[in-house]
């Protein structure tokens, strides 16, 4: 399988009045054709910024300082961010789904108009066939009575339905890749389940690749084939999702697993083991591992040497840690 999108050593900084925020610091990852990957981490870890950078959607004071984003064999970071080529990729070949559907949809345009616009621009469809295609897309994402509801406006839809519309928009131009940035954070659990099942079905059927960006480990466990865990602007662990969940090797990933309550745990049963402290200030980053102050496995080496690079700890399983935390310790 060939990688459809490859991000190589991407660095994005935000130049604020307080100093330089190292939002994404040399991040590399890839997605294969038809693959679902998960990008997991807490707020401020750079997961969203990394995908927005790939799409050249970073605004001042943010700046992409280095790296390559290879899509279809070409480095799309070289394209002009407002140019023809980049626009044909954005929304055409790579589609995005955002967290808050209400702000991503234009409130004064009907759903029909918003869906057909992309079809007319990217696929050169005429009005009639674009409308037919839009209705087809809406019913595909499970909007009941699509032919009637297509002329409604975004505020007439509920949160879950709006997110379905967003999915329909993302699929409209048969993209090779969909990037879903916290797609279900704003909706309830039962709606989340509906949306995730829907997205999974659709991308599997259409052989589209999918990047799910989320803070919720559970969301990616069911669907993602591979997972990247990010912390303080870097990828600290990556691997097949079963490996990551069953045999996490980075102290941060291990900490996360221990700190979340599991369904079905008895009251007073297992005590949660929180990760002490807070994520680092991205302006004042230590030269050593950024997780060091919160780490329970730290050694002398961690305090002396700079942040370690990712290293192989299993087939396809990589972690950025000096310490060899044994399997199933």
């Amino acid at each position: 399988m060939a990688a459809i999108l490859e991000i190589d050593n991407l660095t994005t900084n935000f130049y604020t009045e307080y100093g330089t925020v190292k939002a994404v610091d040399g991040v590399s990852y890839y997605v294969d054709e038809g693959e679902i990957i998960g990008l997991v981490g807490e707020s401020g870890c750079g997961k969203s910024v990394s995908v927005l950078s790939a799409m050249q959607l970073i605004q001042t004071p943010g700046k992409i300082d280095s790296g390559r984003v290879i899509f279809d064999g070409e480095d799309i970071l070289q394209y002009d961010s407002k140019g023809e080529k980049m626009r044909s990729i954005r929304g055409g070949k790579i589609a995005m789904i955002f967290q808050e559907p209400m702000t991503s949809l234009n409130p004064v345009l009907s759903i029909c108009r918003q869906l057909t616009e992309a079809l007319e621009i990217h696929l050169d469809m005429d009005i009639q066939s674009a409308r037919e295609r839009a209705i087809e897309l809406l019913s595909m994402v499970g909007v009941p009575e699509a032919a009637v509801r297509i002329d409604d406006f975004p505020h007439q839809f509920s949160g879950g339905m709006r997110q379905r519309v967003m999915i329909a928009m993302a699929l409209s131009c048969n993209p090779a890749l969909i990037i879903a940035d916290e797609p279900t954070t704003a909706v309830d659990v039962t709606t989340q389940a509906q949306l995730l099942e829907l997205m999974n079905d659709l991308v599997t059927r259409l052989n589209t690749s999918l990047i799910i960006v989320t803070h919720n480990l559970g969301v990616v466990a069911r669907y993602a084939q591979r997972i990247y865990v990010m912390y303080a602007g870097r990828i600290i662990e990556s691997g097949p999702s079963e490996e990551i969940f069953e045999n996490p090797r980075h102290p941060y990933t291990i900490g996360l697993m221990r700190s979340i309550p599991r369904l079905g745990e008895k009251r007073g049963g297992r005590k949660l083991i929180p990760i002490d402290g807070m994520p680092p200030d991205l302006i004042f980053m230590p030269p050593t591992c950024a997780f060091l102050p919160r780490c329970t496995y730290k050694t002398k080496q961690c305090q002396e040497e700079p942040w370690p690079a990712l290293r192989q700890v299993g087939e396809k399983h990589r972690t950025a840690c000096f310490v060899d935390i044994g399997e199933k310790e």
Partner: protein, 327 residues
């Protein structure tokens, strides 16, 4: 459930909270949002009752009714044996000392123009709990209790992180040594690695101070972890109420079953074999709830009498309450 028992700190009976919808020039009353629609439950001394449900199910409104931030439309709420449901503000004030409240958003729940110390001292001042001399001492005690550095009392909220702000909120709620604390989504605005810190803090404080919690959240895994008993709400009504373990091991209401199966597990192997019940349709509007059982339009088991008869919340043994005709 009707006779007030001694070990029940809170006893809620047939609570209804309707918010009127007024339209037009004359503000004509055209309907009600039935946020809470006839619910009854109790909270035992020193236990944690979890209240779980999706947005708009009335869980927050229930909490606010108990805090008497709202005046209930009907029904009674008794707190330590006193009916507070229609008490006037003045009579209520001394009772408020015994109730603490923790809010969801650590950003909007703290006044940005007050220092952390002053925020925590507010309840002490209002209830005359400390002289000026004792105040500083008490504030730094409270700071230490919730794991904050007492040297930071003169900082304003925006200088603290989300987790620290929530600790300030907890210190404020506990300042007057209340017996009951209403925790309204206290961790859902926090990062995953910080959530466990706050959950543990809440558990430790409960143990140390003998607190009673009403823990409101949408995350069933968290609620189950911290609660002795859990009530599941849907569209203003309690669907099921039972002990934490029983709810997981033996969920009887179809909605509870769907809710449980919708929660993504951080375990790929378990996820692959798990059957997921995906509910059809969406939650109806609380302004116009369906007749009969509120859940029947989305229920797999619904029959013709489900849209006529309102299922009562009945005890099927061992303190397991279910509101379903099909169980």
């Amino acid at each position: 459930m009707s006779d007030a028992k001694n070990d029940h700190m809170v006893e809620v009976q047939n609570l209804k909270m309707y918010f009127p919808i007024n339209r037009g020039l004359l503000k004509r009353h055209v309907g009600d949002i039935k946020a809470v629609d006839d619910i009854s439950f109790f909270i035992k001394n020193k236990e944690t009752l979890g209240l779980v449900g999706e947005s708009g199910c009335g869980k927050t409104t229930t909490g606010r009714c108990i805090l008497r931030l709202y005046k209930p439309t009907s029904g009674t709420i008794s707190f330590s044996g006193t009916d507070i449901s229609h008490m006037r503000d003045k009579a209520l004030k001394p009772l408020r000392r015994n109730m603490g409240a923790i809010f969801q958003d650590p950003y909007s729940s703290l006044n940005p123009r007050q220092t952390a110390g002053s925020i925590i001292s507010d309840p002490l001042k209002i209830h005359n709990m400390a002289s000026k001399k004792e105040m500083d001492e008490m504030i730094s005690e409270l700071f230490k209790m919730v794991g904050l550095d007492p040297r930071m009392t003169d900082r304003v909220p925006h200088e603290f992180s989300g987790g620290q702000r929530q600790r300030i909120g907890i210190a404020r709620a506990l300042a007057c040594q209340p017996s009951l604390v209403i925790c309204d989504e206290p961790i859902s605005a926090l990062d995953v690695s910080i959530q466990a810190q706050i959950i543990n803090l809440l558990e430790e404080l409960q143990e140390g101070l003998g607190l009673t919690y009403l823990f409101i959240a949408h995350d069933l895994a968290v609620v189950q972890h911290i609660s002795d008993r859990v009530a599941v709400m849907y569209l203003g009504r309690i669907m099921e109420l039972t002990s934490s373990e029983e709810l997981y091991e033996n969920p009887l209401h179809p909605y509870t079953q769907a809710l449980l199966s919708a929660i993504p597990l951080p375990d790929p192997k378990a996820e692959k074999i798990r059957q997921r019940i995906v509910l059809k349709g969406e939650v109806p509007s609380p302004a116009n709830p369906p007749p009969g059982c509120h859940f029947h339009p989305r229920c797999e088991l619904a029959t013709s009498d489900c849209n006529v008869e309102i299922p009562p919340l009945r005890d099927i043994g061992g303190g397991h309450y279910v509101a379903c005709l099909r169980v």
